[in-house]
Amino acid sequence: MVETTREQRSAGNVPAKLCRSRMNDAINPAAARRCAVHQQRPAFAVCMQCAKTLCQECATQWDGIWYCAACLASRRSAPAAKSRVGGWIAVIAAALVILFCSTRFMVWSGVLLAGLR
């Protein structure tokens, strides 16, 4: 259960995830105390992207922020797609630069060899 004692709250040592759960409580008090995926389980944290309440199993902390599995997957796929585009740009640019350099090396070594004759 997402319950804290009055002493804890007054002492100011309530975890941030519980505070978020409390905020959600205020919006929808009936649904907020239960996990959005597992209705029989108590809420543990709130997904910072879709604001779903999550049990301990469903909540994952990434970079200090709690996410549900779906939001975490969407966040993880975004950099992968970016790195794929980055990989394409890198490999094409590198190939073009090296091909350009190889033509210059070809002329350079050819002229050097011809000069040695």
């Binding site: 490999v91 190939a95 091909l99 190889s102 033509t103 070809m106 002329v107 070594s109 002229v111 050097l112």
Partner: protein, 269 residues
Amino acid sequence: MIRAPLSTTSVLDESAAVVRATVTPWAALLLATSIPYRFMQIVFADRLIELGSNASQYGDLLRTTADITCAAFFLSLCGRAIYARACRLASESGVAPGREALRVPLVAFASYVFVASIAEAVTYLLFVTGLGIAFGAVLSGLAIGTMELNTEPGIRGPLRRLARYSGSSRIIASLTLVFLCALVVALLNVAAFVSVIVSLASTVGGWDAARWHVLLSLHNRRYVLTIIAGALLIIQPFWIAANVLLVRKSGSAETGDDLRVWFEELQRS
């Protein structure tokens, strides 16, 4: 199919069988795409020899020739990529591959162009030292062998794979030595073949061969360069097949890559 343990002789044996299976039309396609590149190399070398010590004053002419050679090189890479895929398919199925050989994954091709251009740059950079051809041949061989293992675009992956498969250096060195000998034998064969054709033409056909004897003699540098290019074209399919098999065999020994590729093929079909 990986039939024998990794060794120089097993790679050579199986590459001969693979070349036999892929000779039509894939080896022909490889030749057709490689001829412009070899031709431009001949033109470049001929111009250099002709210009001699004055070559440094004709930079624009040489640069233009080098740029055209580079374009022809890209075309030859397309042919090599298709042929390498055909070799891989033939080695797995044991039969001549169909149109599937044309479906080279774009990621694999881009990675191959990147690594092959490095090999090309290294060849020209070290050409003066005499080591350039050997280094370039080994690098380009490994590049074509590892081509289809690249599934993600990037510059680190192909280089990492290249470094990993260069581990079997003893077999790579012996393969390079074998192909160097094969190049010499091919040179002699091509030269002998041309002289036999000219002799037959003059004897049987009553053809004026005197002029051709002058043109097709070893004193003519263009003829010598053409013979070298012809020998390179002849051994190229064997070189590519040997490198594809070398990478497949060493990869299968270490990681079971062949099993993964086979499973992917099975899933696709």
